[in-house]
């Protein structure tokens, strides 16, 4: 692993935050959201701010931009100094004047961060409209120039495009172009690659590095991904509950973290070295998929589009007690496969055998008795539980549907909650009373309440913080040992796949490009795409949990 090791002692300060305190408006008794945060960023430096959700990373960045939500949060103390002026004391007009000229910001989700009804060229041009008085032709030339600098193809066409006509990577390039067109001293990047695929992430990270080099921009990079930190940071600040608990140059922090919290955070990062496949169990095959195909848009009177093959000749089988991972980037067809198997959508062709029964062609009614054999846990625990239902009601809905007695189902629901590590009185509570990790435990309990043979986990840990992710992965492992469930684990994250899967299947454009044990696929990839995926995984040669280089890398 090669870390950045430039020395910034001579570089001048771009931004200096001292003792920044942010509180909930009108509530001086509650703990502050930011508690005396201090950090400085020097010219050309990349400072990473890491921490779990709720640690105050984004609040810090919004404070710098003067964009704290009015009436909700307010800075009550400290300084944010840029070019000798305290940003906290600027009036609205003066603060607006700083934005995009001195400090710019790019956001996590490039789809929602761009205005969907305005052409992207116009959105970049608006920065110039706001801060300069360039004539129209010069303005357009400037916009096209910055679009070229962020390596967008066919800039004239993209200039006239709307955000939805671009890919995720292109949208983020547009955001970067917008942020850097006036060459600000400071770029704040708030999880700018979290919503992107690994290969796109790699490109965006190197683009930011390239432009930073070229313009000498200081970067405040907010992320929860330690891999990204290892790749790009000069200095790292670790945040927890509104405080900066530790800061150090990147290599020092990753090799010799001082604080317990930092160690704990690093130890939760799943390792890229795959688990050894467990012995092939005696048990029978519980899920077998053969020649599965899903084609979208094949018919339709008015459709002129080519049909899309979202899944093509997918085949695999899972025996009891084993875990098969399907990995791939967005659009690879992994979720299509999961939904076909659940029969949430109908496969175009192929066989799906669950518990020995072919279910691919059953009608909805015929399917009902087989639903219990295969259950799913979705990605976002905030949206997959009905917010108006108690946990108990969500848990017993399935069992009641297959004719279980209500009292028995409720009693079992309480047991299940204990099993997934929640208090059994949670049956009477509502989803909003739980954290994301707890909700995902509820979702798992809901799935296993049906005593399924197969559990489909569709990006089930992707929305969780690393430490919570580690706990949920442990829980799945434990449940598998206790109950002997087979797990089909859909993920884009190779680290997670390496942790939990016995076998891995790599998908690209609807095709299975590689299939083997996790050890084979991840340590000795055969297909070029698999290799590209692994190479794009940030910080892949660092063993975070053990604070050293990965053995054999």
């Amino acid at each position: 692993m090669k870390f950045k090791s430039r020395n910034f002692d001579q570089a001048s300060n771009v931004l200096e935050i001292t003792g920044l305190t942010v509180r909930l408006t009108g509530n001086d008794k509650a703990d502050p959201v930011l508690d005396a945060v201090s950090l400085k960023i020097r010219q050309g430096e990349t400072v990473c701010l890491v921490g779990e959700s709720g640690s105050g990373k984004s609040v810090t960045s919004l404070s710098i931009m003067g964009l704290l939500p009015k009436g909700v949060l307010a800075a009550t103390g400290g300084h944010i100094e840029l070019e000798g002026r305290n940003l906290l004391e600027l009036n609205a007009q003066a603060m607006r004047d700083m934005r995009a000229r001195k400090i710019s910001m790019i956001f996590q989700e490039p789809m929602t961060a761009l205005n969907p009804v305005l052409r992207v060229g116009e959105q970049i041009g608006e920065v110039l409209d706001t801060h300069t008085k360039l004539p129209a032709r010069e303005k357009k030339a400037r916009v096209l120039d910055i679009m070229n600098q962020v390596h967008l193809p066919d800039v004239e066409r993209i200039y006239r495009s709307y955000p939805h006509q671009l890919s995720g990577g292109q949208r983020q390039r547009i955001m970067i172009a917008m942020a850097l067109i006036l060459e600000p001293q400071l770029l704040i990047a708030d999880e700018p690659t979290t919503a992107l695929d690994v290969t796109t992430q790699k490109q965006i990270l190197s683009l930011i590095a390239e432009l930073q080099e070229k313009h000498g921009t200081a970067v405040l990079f907010i992320t929860h991904d330690m891999g990204v930190v290892a790749e790009i940071a000069d200095t790292v600040h670790v945040m927890k509950l509104g405080r900066i608990v530790e800061h150090a140059p990147v290599e020092t922090l990753l090799r010799a973290p001082k604080q317990d919290y930092t160690r704990q955070l690093l130890q939760s990062v799943p390792s890229l070295s795959p688990r050894a496949p467990r012995a092939m169990p005696e048990g029978q095959t519980v899920l077998a998929v053969e020649g599965l195909q899903k084609v979208y848009g094949a018919h339709g009177v008015f459709s002129r589009r080519e049909p899309t093959r979202a899944a093509n000749d997918v085949r695999f089988s899972i025996p009891r007690g084993r875990t098969l991972g399907i990995v791939g980037e967005s659009g690879s067809g992994k979720s299509t496969v999961a939904r076909c198997i659940m029969r949430l959508i109908d496969p175009t062709e192929g066989e799906i055998r669950v518990a020995g029964k072919e279910i691919a062609t059953l009608t909805r009614r015929q399917l009902r008795p087989y639903r219990r054999h295969i259950q799913i846990v979705f990605q976002d625990p905030f949206r997959s539980l009905n917010p108006r239902w108690t946990i108990g009601r969500s848990l017993i809905e399935g069992p009641l549907n297959i004719g279980e007695d209500k009292q028995a189902a409720l009693a079992r629901a309480a047991d299940l909650l204990t099993l997934v590590g929640l208090p059994d009185d949670a049956v009477h509570r509502y989803p909003h009373q739980f954290s994301g990790g707890q909700r995902q435990r509820v979702a798992i309990a809901r799935a296993i309440a049906m005593e399924p043979d197969v559990l489909v986990a569709d990006e089930a840990v992707s929305a969780l913080d690393v430490s919570v992710q580690a706990q949920v992965l442990d829980l799945l492992d434990e449940l598998q040992q206790k109950l002997g469930i087979a797990i089909l684990f859909i993920t884009h994250d190779l680290r997670v796949a390496a942790q939990i899967c016995d076998e891995v299947l790599v998908m690209q454009h609807g095709h299975v490009v590689e299939h083997g044990t996790a050890a084979e696929v991840l340590s000795n990839p055969q297909h070029a795409y698999t290799r590209a995926l692994i190479e794009a995984a940030p910080g892949r040669s660092w063993d975070f949990a053990n604070f050293k280089e990965l053995q054999g890398a």
């Binding site: 931009m65 910001m105 956001f107 961060a113 939805h164």
Partner: protein
């Protein structure tokens, strides 16, 4: 885009055909003898017979329908039973006051309501918001005729600024038209201002929470630009829907206002026709109002694609 507009216009045909069938059946399916209903209680058998022949009531139903539909295609909606004038001519004379009033009302409502709604959303949970919402509740709750008479009392009788009632065509004398139309329009506008302001506020509140609003602010864009350029266009679809429905309702729903302000529009024409059981006129009015509804819906649908480039049908 062109294909979509064409398809959308073609889709109007079956809708209007179904409406036509219903309108046709309206008279024929009324319980009892239509001729007797039309002629009234004191009619002689000879009079009844005359009415039957004149309406072609003795023919089989489908023959009657095709005769009627053929005339309809030629723009002939029949003749009023009371005044013996062609229905198209009656409607032609009465429609312009209604359309003028409705247009002016909706323009007035939009000009007042949209900024009110935007302002309320921008200053969410402040006194501005509460005042706008308070007005909105009032606008909903006071009946149209009460507002109408209150306006007359205040502006015409007490202050003597405006004439009490009547109507002058804008082509004749625009000043006099305005002087007479302003009170009815304000009266009618009250409820639509309330409705549109509410919808604008709700839609804007949702949009103002979006990430791209934060992006716009991060660019240093002025608040007015954020509100009217970035947010309002994204919030436009539900607002347009309400405006469209509002306008369509206005055409059909101005009866009370036309009575209060003595405006010779189609609202009063309809009421008179219903009271006199003038079936051809009633049929014509139903056809006309349905056509207006369908047409406005078409315009609203087309406006969606203008506001939101992602909408492609």
């Amino acid at each position: 885009m062109l294909g979509y507009i064409l398809r959308r216009i073609l889709a109007v045909i079956p809708v209007m055909a179904i409406v036509a069938v219903f309108v046709f059946l309206l008279l024929r399916l009324t319980p009892g003898d239509p001729a007797a209903i039309i002629a009234g209680d004191a009619a002689t058998p000879a009079q009844l017979e005359r009415i039957r022949t004149s309406l072609g009531l003795s023919d089989p139903l489908h023959v009657q329908f095709f005769t009627w539909a053929k005339l309809l295609f030629q723009g002939d909606l029949g003749t009023s039973l009371i005044s013996s004038t062609p229905v198209t001519q009656m409607i032609g004379q009465r429609i312009w006051p209604t359309i003028n009033i409705a247009l002016m009302t909706i323009v007035l409502s939009v000009l007042l309501a949209v900024p009110m709604g935007v302002l309320a959303a921008w200053r969410h949970r402040t006194w501005v918001d509460y005042v706008v919402m308070g007005f909105s509740v009032l606008g909903f709750s006071i009946p149209v005729f009460v507002i109408g008479y209150l306006f007359i009392l205040a502006f015409s009788i007490e202050l003597r600024w405006l004439p009490v009632q009547g109507y002058v065509a804008p082509s004749q004398d625009f000043g006099k038209f305005l002087a007479r139309a302003i009170l009815p329009c304000l009266t009618l506008a009250t409820i639509y201002v309330a409705l549109i302001a509410r919808m604008t506020r709700a839609s804007m509140l949702e949009v103002l929470g979006e990430d791209y609003i934060r992006t716009a602010r991060a660019k240093g864009v002025k608040e007015t630009v954020v509100l009217f350029h970035h947010a309002l266009r994204n919030a436009a679809v539900p607002i347009m829907t309400i405006i469209g429905t509002g306008f369509a309702l206005l055409i059909g729903g101005v009866v009370v206002t036309e009575s209060v302000f003595n405006i010779p529009g189609i609202g009063r024409l309809t009421v008179d026709a219903i009271l006199a059981r003038d079936y051809p006129v009633i049929q014509g009015m139903i056809l006309l109002t349905s056509a207006i509804y369908v047409f406005i819906n078409l315009l609203v649908d087309l406006s969606y694609t203008f506001f939101d480039p992602r909408i492609r049908y």
